[in-house]
């Protein structure tokens, strides 16, 4: 592996994988934590992306304006789509969100004079830098980590596990669901804003249901309750198509096989419910240490174990 290839992978990781993963974090909150399936989460990314793109391209607004505007638009749309969705059963939530996303793409395609339609919107100002993306990405993970370890995280998991019991604990199920929908919209819209200011190009085709279902795959691949699992899965699955670029036709096949293997042999996801926190890292480090001791100095290890 040459240095140029590595640096290419690095830039790919940040410009494509990390930005799209901010959109995935919305799916993590919605599907991973609360158990609501959104088959159209990418539409919220489009909402944020178009808001940021149009503000910066036509009105020459700086990032300090476009980013809050994108997040606000995502919040608003999340709230509006959430209002009908939270009253429905799980499977219907998926259909509502899918309908929203397809409708949005159709809308974008038919308003070509402002949105560029299927041809896309080009020459959007590039505002982001790689360190900036990394910082925002890490911050988002921290925020969601904190959220998971708060009353909201517990309420979400309770709702996912048993809505009726959750309500009898005094949890306002509809309110929490609406909150989560709104929050997921905001998070994904933030991803859209970063996306458009990085690629400087935006077209409606990038935000169809394939992207949304990719995110669901990532969350399930990593383990539904595990934020670190989802992030790990997002990075691995995001990089796989690039790593196997040499075998162009096969890379999608390889990707699918890996996903199938996980779903079949570890249905709870790679990490299951476990988080890669300090405790788990310590446990893994100890296990690895014991393993190496046994491999490289078997006699000493035996003595140590006996003593």
């Amino acid at each position: 592996m040459s240095a140029t290839y590595l640096s290419y992978l690095y830039s790919f990781l940040i410009d494509n994988v990390l930005i799209l993963m901010i959109g995935m974090l919305g799916v993590y909150v919605l599907t991973g934590l609360t158990g609501m399936f959104s088959m159209g989460q990418a539409a919220f990314m489009a909402v944020g992306g178009y808001a940021a793109a149009m503000l910066s391209k036509y009105l020459h607004m700086p990032l300090l304006v476009t980013m809050p505007a994108a997040v606000l638009t995502g919040t608003l749309f999340g709230f509006l789509i959430g209002l009908p969705a939270v009253k429905l059963r799980r499977d219907y939530v998926a259909i509502v969100s899918l309908g929203f996303s397809e409708a949005l793409v159709a809308f974008l395609n038919n308003t070509a004079s402002i949105t560029g339609g299927a041809l896309g919107l080009t020459a959007v100002p590039k505002y982001t830098t790689r360190p900036m993306i990394i910082v925002i990405f890490v911050l988002m993970i921290l925020f969601i980590w904190n959220l998971k370890n708060s009353r909201f995280g517990r309420e979400c998991i309770a709702i996912k596990s048993d809505e009726l019991a959750a309500a009898s604990m005094g949890i306002d199920v509809a309110r929490v669901k609406l909150l989560v929908f709104t929050l997921a919209g905001a998070i994904s819209a933030l991803g859209g804003c970063l996306y458009v200011h990085t690629t400087t190009y935006l077209d409606s085709a990038a935000f169809g249901w394939t992207q949304s279902s990719m995110w669901i795959v990532m969350v399930f691949f990593g383990g539904v309750n595990s934020l670190t699992g989802s992030v790990f899965a997002g990075i691995v699955l995001g990089l796989i198509p690039e790593i196997f670029r040499f075998s162009d036709a096969l890379r999608i096949v390889i990707y699918c096989i890996i996903v199938l293997f996980i779903v079949n042999f570890r249905p709870q996801g790679l990490f299951g419910e476990t988080e890669l926190d300090r405790k788990t890292i310590k446990r893994i480090a100890l296990a690895v240490g014991r393993f190496f001791k046994r491999v490289f100095a078997p006699s000493q290890a035996q003595e140590a174990e006996q003593g």
Binding site: F143, I144, N146, L147, S150, R151, F152, G153, R154, E155, I157, A158, K160, S161, D162, L164, A165, A166, A167, S168, M169, G170, I171, D172, V173, L179, L183, V224, N225, E273
Partner: protein, 267 residues
């Protein structure tokens, strides 16, 4: 100030099945009341009506003098009505401690932003709640299982996690749906002691659905007997378990011989 719970002429049908017909009951704080009756008598339906899962077709339910019919489940819970379920309903994906904490989370008032930023007052509230949850776990004797997942625990312990979750918010009315099901005799004795102790300590009203007559007779001050959705009779344990109508409902029509020799008190 009226009674803790007053139920008047409660009725509920599911399709053609009249699950609960014209049932009235009342209870006060610091009292243990039992509802007994054969399977399908409508006992759990009454719980579901009181806790707001179903809406009654007719009748009134007053909790501390306030009409709670039609209020959503979570509001009734927040007023101080808490319950356990016949088939255990603990939250998968949360530890034992977190399960108990969920009953307090609805009351804690910090915003989603303070949660995401981990602000000090959020941490303060969560810490207080954690200590309260630990105390509840200690009362039911489960402190050492705090970080386990409930699905990894044996059945009897899962029941106690549910109990801890139900009492942690210090409700005014505690409803237990067949809490002693599946317990062995020594667990049963310990359980009866625990419930009596809880009543002493917190003074809440406890409404129990139970099949095990030992639990009912030893704990309750008053028993309501349901059969096919109707209130058959009610009274003190001694009166009820010697009542021939009750024995007929439990053992069957053709049990005159049994009736003469035995009462439900010995079951």
């Amino acid at each position: 100030m009226g009674m803790l719970l007053e139920v008047y002429n409660l009725s509920k049908s599911f399709g053609g099945v009249r699950a609960v017909r014209d049932v009235s009951l009342s209870m006060d704080s610091n009292q243990i009341i039992s509802i007994i009756g054969p399977n399908g008598a409508g006992k759990t339906t009454i719980f579901n009506l009181i806790s707001g899962i179903y809406k009654p077709d007719a009748g009134r339910i007053l909790f501390m003098g306030k009409d709670i019919v039609g209020k959503p489940q979570h509001e009734i819970a927040r007023m101080g009505v808490s319950r356990t379920f016949q088939n255990i309903r603990l939250f998968k994906g949360l530890t034992v401690l977190e399960n108990v904490m969920t009953a307090l989370d609805a009351e804690s008032n910090y915003s989603v932003f303070s949660a995401m930023l981990g602000l000090p007052h959020k941490r303060q509230i969560d810490k207080t709640n954690m200590l309260r949850a630990l105390e509840a776990l200690q009362i039911v004797g489960l402190s050492k299982y705090r970080d386990e997942h409930p699905t990894d625990l044996p059945y009897g312990l899962q029941r106690r996690v549910e109990l801890a979750r139900a009492i942690v918010s210090q409700p005014k009315l505690l409803m237990l749906d067949e809490p002693a099901a599946g317990l062995n005799p020594s667990e049963l004795a310990a359980f009866i002691g625990l419930i009596a102790e809880l009543k002493q300590r917190f003074g809440f009203g406890i409404l129990i659905i139970e099949h095990r007559m030992q639990v009912v007779n030893e704990l309750s001050e008053h028993i309501y007997v349901l059969n096919f959705g109707n209130l058959l009779t009610h009274g003190k344990p001694q009166e009820v378990c010697n009542d021939p109508e009750v024995i007929k409902a439990y053992i069957g029509e053709d049990s005159s011989s049994v009736t003469n020799q035995k009462s439900l008190c010995q079951l």
